[in-house]
């Protein structure tokens, strides 16, 4: 009994074909499939991608439900074409126990817009000193495999070494927020010509690169899996390329905003100077860094795109630069930004986008039933994207509770038309189903 027939979808950008969905799985892919009473969805001109998987999302619940909740954040995720997100651990209370990760996981199940995979904190209270109960979180119903103190760096080399070693027992991965704390005290933006002119404390590239180099060496020494969050500099790319050439088990992500935006926006942008909408951690870097990150994502040195969706209420951004919160929302614009930065530039085709935004992040996070090619037998986690349109970004229409997007008023390509989660549409005609 077929539930859905999708007509004329260009699977991974290829020739049009029909997709039959049944019992949460892709039953058949071919041309001219018979409907047999199933609902039909006309995907003429749309690109079919595997459901996107985000390794790095801040859903803010528990603790900052004014900025985002699991329900609102996963609605935003579905509208962005995601079928799975990893919820970062820097909530209040911190997700450093089985209880908190199970709560977040359950909230995700109840909301039902996409799969929520909680990330566990590496250290108790994100304090960088004592390991959180990593094994308990791994064994919990949430089945945590990704551990991160994101927002803070696990800067103590011994704690980092122990964490890397410890999670081997349950095939976990440490996702490092690479930021040497002493080199970035009070840091406000990328350290460079712009920060020098603007009189803002600089966040030097070396503070990221030094930690990445150290952690690659540590991961190699103990034979563990290491993932680097939001890589932002050309130097980091060089180090990762070298570490990967050794065959070490290291992966990395880049955010959409680091693929498109640069630090000169802090000085001069359509929304004025010193507008904290551009304040983010790690900071926006230079054009040379953007070019290096794009090249690294294209050649696989950087494995995947992760949004670092970081919602903040208006009052935390409508301030002077120094007082503003760091972070940008990104779930609802991620695919469009990747389209502009990577596809329109010829660096990736749609199969490449599927690899960097679905297959690889699912593998890194050990997410079962996600990140699989859209072929018969796979779970029907699918995203249908119209690459032909181009529109001005209107945050008023976002499902996220927050509005801190750096793309307001900017024109971006493409539109997510439909998202299917295990055979059930979560988004149809660009709206929540």
């Amino acid at each position: 009994m077929t539930d859905f027939i999708v007509r004329n979808a260009r699977i991974l950008g290829g020739e049009p074909a029909d997709i039959a969905i049944s019992g949460g799985l892709i039953a058949e892919v071919g041309r001219g499939l018979t409907a047999g009473g199933a609902s039909e969805f006309d995907a003429d001109g749309l690109v079919a991608l595997p459901g996107l998987v985000d390794l790095h999302t801040h859903l803010r619940e528990p603790g900052r439900e004014d900025a985002e909740t699991v329900a609102s954040g996963t609605r935003a995720a579905a509208l962005g074409g995601f079928t799975a997100v990893h919820a970062m651990a820097n909530t209040s209370p911190v997700a450093d126990t089985a209880g908190v990760v199970e709560q977040v996981w359950r909230l995700g199940q109840e909301a039902g817009h996409c799969e929520v995979r909680p990330v566990g904190a590496v250290t108790a209270g994100l304090n960088g000193e004592r390991l959180a109960e990593l094994g308990a979180m791994a064994d919990s119903a949430a089945g945590v495999r990704v551990f991160s103190d994101d927002g803070k760096c696990v800067s103590d080399a011994v704690v980092m070494r122990r964490a890397l070693e410890y999670v081997k027992a349950f095939d976990g991965v440490i996702a490092q927020h690479a930021q040497e704390p002493r080199l970035t005290e009070g840091a406000q933006m990328n350290e460079g010509a712009v920060s020098g002119r603007l009189g803002l404390v600089g966040w030097p590239a070396v503070a990221e690169e030094a930690i990445i180099a150290r952690d690659c060496l540590l991961a190699a020494h103990v034979g563990s899996r290491l993932h680097i969050c939001h890589v932002s500099t050309a130097g980091s790319v060089e180090i990762l390329r070298w570490a990967k050439s050794k065959g070490w088990n290291i992966t990395a992500e880049v955010t959409p905003h680091h693929l498109l935006l640069t630090d000169d926006l802090v000085e001069d942008s359509p929304v004025g100077s010193y507008n904290p909408i551009y304040k983010v951690n790690p900071p926006l870097r230079t054009r040379e860094d953007v070019e290096a990150l794009r090249a690294a994502l294209a050649d696989g040195t950087i494995d995947c795109v992760a949004t670092d969706h970081a919602p903040h209420p208006v009052e935390d951004k409508e301030t002077e630069w120094g007082a503003a919160a760091m972070g940008m929302i990104g779930l609802e614009t991620a695919l469009a930004v990747v389209h502009e930065a990577m596809v329109e530039t010829g660096l990736l085709d749609w199969a490449g986008v599927a690899d960097r935004m679905s297959y690889r992040p699912a593998r890194i996070g050990r997410v079962r039933g996600q990140g699989l090619p859209p072929t018969a037998g796979s779970p029907a986690n699918l995203t249908f994207y119209d690459p032909s349109v181009r529109d001005e970004v209107d945050p008023g229409g976002f499902a996220s509770k927050s509005r801190n997007t750096p793309y307001e008023g900017r024109t971006l390509p493409g539109r997510v038309v439909a998202t299917f989660l295990r055979g059930r549409p979560t988004v149809l005609e660009g709206k929540l189903a």
């Binding site: 020098g196 002119r197 603007l198 009189g199 507008n275 002077e320």
Partner: protein
């Protein structure tokens, strides 16, 4: 001229010369027994000071009052700001009161830019964090011009904590606009790492630069920088970068010594240098009122309305 004065970089050469020439005319008023002009009668100037700076606030207040403006002093201490009111809400309050100009001093770089997006009146930057202090640069240029004549081709050396100095940033931009050649002298730790992108020369050797300079401008060095390892000790700083009597003797005969104040006597500048005939430090204070009169006059279009 633009509606706001937030960065010295906002000023064209023509703007800067207009301000300096206007200040020359206004200086004559300051020499009269009755110092007041009626030009800004009925206009409201708000001094919005989030950082304590009695010197700068008094200077702006005197300037506005000599032009007959109504002056409201809004200091963050003891006000709603200390109870957690945001800059935006403060701005909206001032907007509702009908401020024609807001003079802002704030510890955050860029606060005047943000303020300018929330109020209709002119915003004058009276010092924002480690970014800029454009009226200080204007009064410095005014002082130099009175002592030395036109600044084209003049060699100006700025010595000290450039990294954290809003005075240095504004001076580099304005002096460059006015055709002067600027050299920064500082320990490398107290220069931005990208200083080579600035329109000026850089040296680590004060003694080599001294004899070639028409102006030596000393910046205040905060001794707490010592604890953050910017330099080893106040003594060592003073030996390498301080202006003492021996160094004064190496300067050209007509060269002048400037300091934006407040000074650390005995650290960046020796007492006898600060008090010497070469020093313009007291003149700078007097010229501050005059230049701020010129700025308010030009921004608020005093002669019309």
């Amino acid at each position: 001229m633009k509606r706001h004065l937030i960065s010295a970089g906002d000023l064209t050469r023509q703007d800067a010369l207009l301000i300096l020439d206007t200040a020359d005319e206004l200086a004559r008023v300051s020499d009269r027994s009755i110092k007041k002009l009626p030009t800004l009668r009925g206009r409201t100037v708000v001094n919005l000071f989030f950082e304590d700076s009695t010197r700068t606030r008094i200077s702006f207040e005197a300037a506005a009052k000599r032009l007959s403006a109504d002056v409201i002093n809004f200091s963050a201490k003891g006000s709603s700001v200390s109870k957690g009111e945001s800059l935006k809400d403060t701005a909206l309050t001032l907007q509702a009161m009908g401020a024609d100009a807001v003079v802002i001093r704030h510890s955050a770089s860029g606060a005047p830019h943000r303020l300018a997006t929330w109020v209709d009146g002119s915003v004058v930057n009276a010092g924002d964090g480690t970014h800029e202090h454009p009226t200080q640069a204007l009064l410095d240029a005014f002082t130099m011009r009175r002592r030395l004549g036109a600044l084209d081709g003049r060699r100006i050396t700025i010595v000290g904590d450039v990294l954290h100095s809003r005075v240095a940033r504004s001076n580099v931009l304005l002096l460059n606009t006015l055709g002067a050649q600027v050299t920064l002298v500082a320990p490398p730790t107290l220069l931005p790492v990208t200083v080579d992108s600035w329109p000026c020369e850089v040296s680590y050797d004060l003694d080599a630069v001294l004899p070639k300079s028409d102006v030596i401008m000393m910046l205040r060095v905060q001794t707490e920088r010592m604890n953050a390892s910017y330099f080893p000790s106040a003594r060592e700083y003073s030996r390498r970068y301080g202006l003492d009597r021996d160094r004064l003797a190496k300067m050209a005969d007509d060269a002048i010594v400037m300091h934006p104040g407040p000074m650390n006597r005995g650290v960046e500048i020796a007492a006898e240098v600060a008090d010497s005939a070469r020093s313009t430090i007291v003149e700078q204070v007097a010229n501050g009122v005059t230049i701020r009169m010129a700025v308010l006059y030009l921004l608020l279009g005093g002669e019309t309305q």
